[in-house]
């Protein structure tokens, strides 16, 4: 089961954990468990090129892209930091944290990468 889901979107999407709260490890209130690829698909759809200078992706393309990123994140060399995947102005990091992992989505805003949401995942066994 996936915990503390906060679907990301163009800026800080409704229901998402704000970057500040995400950094503090906060959970988004009242959200339901979400599977990472679905969550990442929303991130890709919501930003699709960061500054909006690229067309919004179809649901299918966004999902394919999210799946590719998830596969990259989960097949990462364990001796290399960070665990990162990037497509179309959206970047994902998967990081260990106390009691689990955190998947973060960031969007390039023309000056810096901004965290737009984060998803807490349970510890991998």
């Amino acid at each position: 089961m996936w915990l503390n889901a906060s679907p990301p979107g163009a800026a800080v999407p409704p229901g998402a954990v704000s970057p500040k709260d995400a950094a503090r490890g906060a959970a988004s209130p009242g959200t339901t468990p979400v599977e990472p690829v679905t969550w990442m698909t929303e991130a890709v759809r919501g930003s699709a090129g960061g500054r909006g200078d690229r067309p919004r992706l179809s649901a299918d393309s966004a999902r394919r892209l999210a799946r590719a990123c998830w596969s990259e994140l989960t097949n990462h060399d364990p001796n290399v930091f960070p665990v990162q995947a990037e497509r179309r102005g959206v970047r994902f990091y998967l990081q260990e944290e106390r009691g689990g992992q955190r998947l973060s989505a960031l969007v390039w805003d023309g000056f810096q990468w901004r965290t737009v949401g984060s998803l807490r995942l349970p510890a991998s066994d």
Partner: protein
């Protein structure tokens, strides 16, 4: 044992406010692994920091911590070690903290050789204050404070440490946490001052020196045939010729540390000594000044 100790460190650590992907995460994780491998539990370790994103190292390490002033981690760390030599003392901070405002302390800590480890998370930028040029930024580096490019040449911390007589000089890279943990193990075991400069990318504000850039540009000393880390002159030349773009143990030498030079120090940690005893001596000492 080591795995359990890593968990113990993590349990004592606070939740991080660093940006996702920040190189400093790997530095903390590597230090937890190194300390655990050396079977040093959190209560025997103290981390002292200055100010900066990297200044939060002590909050996230999960050992004892002391967050000092900007650029002042080294005097505090040395004082702690001198007062209680039974503690493993780690000073940590950024390139702005250590090589800018704290450079005077750095040079004196190198030559003084108190038995502490100094970890500098060198991202060539001020992270906490949102991306200004730092003392290690390369010449021409463009930031908010240097819109036409940095006019100065960067500080060269490895050469400074070597020239100052440091007994252990190493450089790590956050992108290779395994090598970093191994370097940290050796640095903590080294008797005397040890410097680990870590190239630790700021993913938010430094868009030139990315993980990819470092990966392509750093020479790994572990793979350099014939490199002799016990030859100071050769180490100096190597660092200079590679413009500091190395990772691994650069130089090591056994030297008597500061404490070993102090008469009476060896008996017991100062914090355990009965300081009520030498009252007479103090009176004599005072009298000598009258």
């Amino acid at each position: 044992m080591a795995v359990n100790l890593v968990t113990e460190y993590k349990e004592h650590a606070q939740s991080s406010t660093w940006c996702p992907g920040c190189g400093d995460f790997a530095v903390v994780a590597a230090m937890q692994k190194a300390l655990a491998a050396l079977e040093l539990p959190p209560h025997q370790v103290v981390a002292v920091t200055g100010i900066g994103c990297s200044g939060k190292f002590n909050y996230y390490l999960g050992a004892n911590g002391f967050n000092s002033l900007h650029g002042r981690s080294l005097p505090v760390a040395q004082a702690i070690k001198i007062a209680n030599r039974d503690l493993t003392v780690i000073a940590a901070g950024g390139d702005g903290d250590g090589y800018g405002i704290g450079i005077g302390h750095f040079l004196h800590a190198v030559r003084r050789n108190v038995d502490i480890t100094y970890v500098v998370m060198d991202n060539h930028i001020y992270g906490l204050t949102t991306g200004q040029t730092s003392p290690t930024s390369k010449k021409g580096f463009v930031t908010k404070t240097t819109p036409y490019g940095a006019a100065e040449y960067p500080i060269r911390p490895l050469e400074l440490a070597l020239a100052g007589g440091a007994g252990f000089v190493a450089q790590g890279f956050s992108g290779d946490p395994k090598q970093l943990a191994e370097i940290m193990k050796q640095a903590v075991q080294h008797k005397g001052f040890s410097l680990i400069n870590v190239y630790s990318p700021c993913v938010t504000f430094n868009h030139e020196e990315t993980y990819e850039w470092w990966r392509q540009n750093l020479v790994n000393l572990d793979q350099e045939q014939g490199y002799d880390a016990t030859d100071r002159t050769a180490a100096f030349r190597y660092v200079y010729e590679h413009n500091g773009l190395l990772r691994g143990v650069i130089f090591r030498e056994e030297r008597r540390d500061y404490q070993s030079e102090l008469p009476g120090y060896a008996a017991e940690a100062l914090v355990r000594q009965d300081l009520s005893q030498p009252v007479k001596d103090r009176a004599e000492l005072l009298a000598a000044f009258m």
